[in-house]
């Protein structure tokens, strides 16, 4: 039985196969998943916000923001033996959990911004996004299988998907 490592909110982690990385209950947050298919190394980040530019204070939690989490996760995976050229990405989450009926509420639309910003950064870094299950209005739990790179997306009432 290979181990399951849980990635919390505003957290990231990586493993060398075998093993499973999981994060539970992604809402407007985005699960960024990296996989090096050659070296069988997987990484996962559960980010809450698009950019660290809005952060104040000198010490930030890098796993909380898409821009810094991507850097940190790449560093971690490379330190474990992954090569950036072999790394591809999958994304899940970024939902709008509650309908906004009070005009434009930016907080409720943060999921969309998180996904947009993540895609933009990955494009700049030349990391190919091979699959994504994002948006809509429901929560997602994801599991990355490090042997194969398969990402399982579980939902409540919206089925289970392999991406």
């Amino acid at each position: 039985m290979s181990g399951v490592i849980k990635v919390g909110m505003a957290d990231l982690n990586a493993i060398v196969s075998p093993g499973i990385l999981t994060t539970l209950g992604l809402g407007s947050c985005v699960g960024i998943v990296f996989y090096d298919n050659k070296n069988k190394i997987g990484g996962m980040a559960h980010v809450m916000l698009p950019t660290s530019r809005i952060a104040n204070g000198d010490k930030i939690n890098e796993a909380k923001f898409a821009d810094t989490a991507i850097e940190k996760l790449l560093e971690l995976m490379i330190s474990m033996g992954a090569k950036q050229t072999f790394i591809t990405a999958k994304l899940a989450g970024g939902a709008q959990m509650f309908a906004s009926r009070n005009g434009s509420n930016d907080v409720l639309k943060i999921g969309h911004k998180n996904v947009e910003q993540t895609l933009k950064i990955l494009q700049e870094k030349n990391i190919k996004v091979v699959a994504q299950d994002t948006g809509s209005n429901y929560g997602r739990t994801i599991e990355l299988y490090s042997e194969s790179g398969l990402l399982l997306v579980k939902t409540i009432g919206h089925g289970v998907k392999e991406i």
């Binding site: 919390g8 407007s28 947050c29 952060a55 939690n61 959990m97 943060i110 209005n137 429901y138 739990t141």
Partner: protein, 207 residues
């Protein structure tokens, strides 16, 4: 001026708890009147929770819940969430309406059920804020309620992201409601934004 978590000391937490007590007392009464049942409430907790130890407060992040979400704006701003397990939500509906609206064992909630739950959230949150407003002399307005039947981590991500912009922690004022038979157990979370804490404490003359 905005407070940071480091500046929120024990006595501030006690004041927030007391405020929670006043609000939740009123909310429990309104729920009790609506259901014509005795509703008990726990002593409100004011807690600062790191995003990493969310599980210790709410249980597994993928647990299925019915959540009613409201925002308040005005002198202070924030989010109110009334969270119920699926069974509790169905039992509440049964008491409220007096008959089953959905086939027994049905997982989801019908439009009518959602609308009834939203109205419950509206009344309970209104009673809570009304008491807080009278006590602090602050004015606030409640948004239209929204509903989600989903994983608790996913629904809570909404107010937590708001905190995430400034901190790695969130401050909750939490009260449990339950009726005598334990068939309804709800969790009422009030999450004012960071700027609101100093305004509350100022309004009460303690800062």
């Amino acid at each position: 001026m905005s407070l940071s978590f480091e500046q929120i000391n024990e006595s501030y937490m006690d004041i927030l708890k007391e405020l929670g007590n006043i609000g939740a007392g009123n909310a429990a009464t309104s729920l009790s009147v609506m259901l014509n049942r005795r509703i008990d409430m726990s002593v409100p907790q004011a807690r600062i929770v790191g995003f990493g130890d969310l599980e210790s407060i709410i249980g597994p992040e993928d647990a299925l819940v019915a959540a009613i979400y409201l925002e308040f704006t005005g002198d202070i701003q924030g989010t109110i969430m009334f969270v119920l397990s699926q069974d509790s939500a169905k039992n509440l509906l049964l008491l409220l309406i007096g008959c089953e609206m959905n086939p027994k064992g049905s997982d989801a909630f019908s439009e009518l059920e959602i609308s009834a739950l939203q109205e419950v959230g509206n009344i309970v949150a209104g009673a809570y804020l009304g008491a807080v407003a009278r006590f602090t002399n602050l004015t606030m307005k409640l948004s239209v309620p929204s509903f989600a039947f989903d994983m608790i981590g996913a629904v809570l991500s909404v107010p937590l992201i708001e905190f995430g912009q400034m901190s790695d922690k969130a401050l909750f004022i939490e009260t449990d409601f339950l009726n005598g038979g334990d068939s309804i157990k709800g969790d009422f979370l009030v999450i004012p934004d960071m700027e609101s804490y100093s305004i509350i404490l100022n309004a009460l003359g303690v800062m």
